[in-house]
């Protein structure tokens, strides 16, 4: 039987390195299958997160040959033949052990997003076309690959100032919901740090759900922020009418 060679990161916060494993290669095998084979036969304590194994839960995020990937969706036969497959934990988050990282920060960001707030007394009817875009955003499986690849978080570590693409997508889903009554531009500007995104579109490239994160979510939100907070005409109108920004 043909064999695959994997170099898997083993270690924790105190350090570690790549370790070589060999596993029998099966047709249609994905990297997660190989990791499970290692767990089941060679390294029972190899830490990896996974759940659905169907690219629907976003648990098994890691880096394969340096690229952020879902392990369950990365086929072994799509990787360069004859070379070891390098599997490492997400780089943007602190390591827990082996392929598992501490992603709790994401859950803290999510808590701060002003929740869905339905319009009072509205009729709950809308056209499918009106929610196609919102449904695109709601496809997100929270794999955090976009957070991992985003240079604001990955290279500059700005978890203090930037919510990351995942949560801009979530805000976009709320802002564009036909029944939502809230304005979140102040949150986007001041808390989510949307200005830090300089639209390199790396997040869109890695999204396993093919959400057009930058063009469909982030750019329209940036426009809303500009309209509400930087547009001189609107500033003047506000001055005259006395209306506040978030009304």
């Amino acid at each position: 039987m043909p064999e695959a060679v994997l170099h898997v990161y083993r270690g924790d916060a105190s350090g570690g390195g790549l370790k070589e494993y060999r596993v029998p290669l099966e047709e249609g095998m994905v990297v997660l299958d190989a990791i499970h084979h290692i767990q089941g036969h060679q390294a029972p304590d190899l830490a990896v997160r996974w759940n659905c194994k169907a690219a629907k839960c976003g648990s098994c995020s890691a880096e394969v040959n340096g690229k952020p990937k879902l392990l369950c969706k990365t086929r072994m036969d799509a990787l360069p033949p004859g070379q070891p497959v390098v599997v490492q934990p997400l780089k943007a988050f602190p390591i827990v052990k082996d392929l598992v990282t501490d992603v709790r920060w994401n859950y803290e960001v999510n808590k701060r997003i002003p929740p869905f707030t339905p319009k009072p007394n509205a009729e709950w009817r809308w056209k499918q076309e009106d929610v196609d875009r919102v449904q695109e955003f709601r496809k997100c499986i929270e794999c955090f690959l976009c957070q991992d690849v985003c240079h604001v978080l990955r290279s500059h570590g700005r978890t203090d100032a930037f919510a990351g693409p995942r949560f801009l997508v979530r805000v976009a889903g709320l802002e564009m919901h036909p029944m939502d009554a809230l304005n979140r531009t102040k949150f986007l500007k001041e808390d989510a740090g949307i200005g830090l995104c300089n639209i390199t579109k790396c997040c869109t490239e890695v999204c396993p759900e093919d959400i057009t994160i930058t063009d469909n979510a982030i750019i329209p939100l940036k426009e809303r922020v500009v309209d509400d907070h930087y547009d001189p005409v609107r500033m003047l109108v506000r001055l005259v009418t006395g209306k506040k920004k978030d009304e």
Binding site: D12, E26, E27, G28, M29, V30, D33, Q39, G40, H41, P44, D45, L46, A47, V48, R49, W50, N51, C52, K53, A54, A55, K56, C57, G58, S59, K73, R75, V96, K97, D98, V100, D102, V103, R104, Y107, N110, K111, P115, F116, P118, W124, R125, W126, K127, Q128, V131, V134, Q135, R138, K139, C140, I141, E142, R170, L174, H177, D180
Partner: protein, 578 residues
Amino acid sequence: MSERYESHDVDVLVIGAGGAGLRAAIEASAQGARVGVVCKSLLGKAHTVMAEGGVAAALAHVDPSDSWKVHFKDTMLGGKMLNNWRMAQLHAQEAPDRVRELEQWGAVFDRTQDGRILQRNFGGHSSPRLAHVGDRTGLEMIRTLQDFGVHQGLEVYMECTVTKLLKQDSRVVGAFAYWRETGRFVLFRAKSVVLATGGIGKAYTITSNSWEYTGDGHALALGAGAELIDMEFFQFHPTGMVWPPGVQGLLVTEAVRGEGGLLRNAAGERFMERYDPKRMELSTRDMVARAIYTEVKEGRGSPHGGAFLDISHKPAELVKKKLPSMYHQFMEFANIDITKSPMEVGPTGHYIMGGVRVDADTGAATVPGLFAAGEASGGMHGANRLGGNSLSDLLVFGRRAGAGSAAYAAKTPGHAVVDPAQVAAAERELLEPFERASGPDPYSIHRRLQQSMHSLVGIFRTEEDLVKGIEEIRKLRAEANTVRVEGSRAFNPGWHLSHDLRNMLTISEAIARCALQRRESRGAHARLDYPNLDPELGGVNSVATLDDEAVRVSQSPLPRMPDELRALFVAEPAGVQS
């Protein structure tokens, strides 16, 4: 003693954060209880995300003649009349409100032409009844509940596994758990506990279930002295992927058939004609699973041992719009474009109808302070669950168990003092595998259990196989008490499995013993040696309890349906065909 541990005091402790657990937590919190939610994985990753086709509710948006009574009837007939009638009634009556409520919390369902929630066909439902979002309804549901819940102030303990319920006298008063990340122990003192842990698909080789589905809630309940009912009814979903090997068992949503997908065998015949000519592809899951199994067994299977499921006669754009994740799943995992070629599918272990015996209205188990909802509870689905009835079950009975547990907590004055002996025993059980110098590894025992369950306690059963299966499980249970675990307590999957395995083995034994006891074929329980329905057995639930580690089974009479509901079935003898 308990000072040695991190500990938390809550009014209601919910174990499990899928649809049922989150809905229970939200309700308990809305009733004023302080709620803790413990889940084995990260929040939002529970198996509810894998539910694809939709949530069944008689909204009557597509078929105006639909009503709770028709939904109730479909559910009872699908369950071969073994369902707890009161649960089936509450479920059918309340599901529409639960779906509308979800929409008001931000869920975005697909729309009808006139702008309302769209509904699709599904097996065993006599009207288009499933509210859906393409083929990712479960994700929509869990994300909506998750986001609603975090703003309600639920305390969520992620990647934390409960291994024992703590008791004072007969009452459940808390839980003992460990953190996955560090392996450190943690105590929860609670006035009531809700089990919402899902099922036990991981006891089978081919399954649509994730690693979490190891019968934890079932085993915790048994360990606390509660009763399980109808454990012999384990559903094989008719359509799982059969190739390539790595994705064997992966779910192919029933929505493919709901949207018009056809099943054919190797000879090109629409074989459902021979099994259920009236409903064909939209027959109930038990029927379709057995039909595919039989076609393969009799040599009419597809190249990789399944049946062909074909949706390619529908416009490609419609397929991509209504079944996007199926399109991607087959494209990426099997190099098949389902808008052009058929899929190969076969039965996959999916769902257990049996579970903790509960009071229909409150979700209360037979032990004070203990509640259960969703797949962990039994009764709602009888001998076979209809597709789409699980998501509605989670919402309806999650809410009810949340209210029941909060009410129980409200009349409980304070937290009980934790019994050090129970904690010490729970701790010893978890640490022993590290202390053994030698012993089998948990992975190999797990693989053997899966093979035994598949070949001996599978789709078709016989007394001989079941007896052999029970022997095999008992042998494995003994071996599981001798496993050795390598490495440290920090995020150690081998160690986690060594404990999950004990749950799987206990519950697998309950499944096999209930299956041996029920000498008839009904719904998902098919006995080759007793191929027909036995009307007398249609009047009894199977009961499983634990007696000092030994699984005991017995029978108890089914609750009697009131006459006004019974009248719905008068003209319906079809309800009692297997």
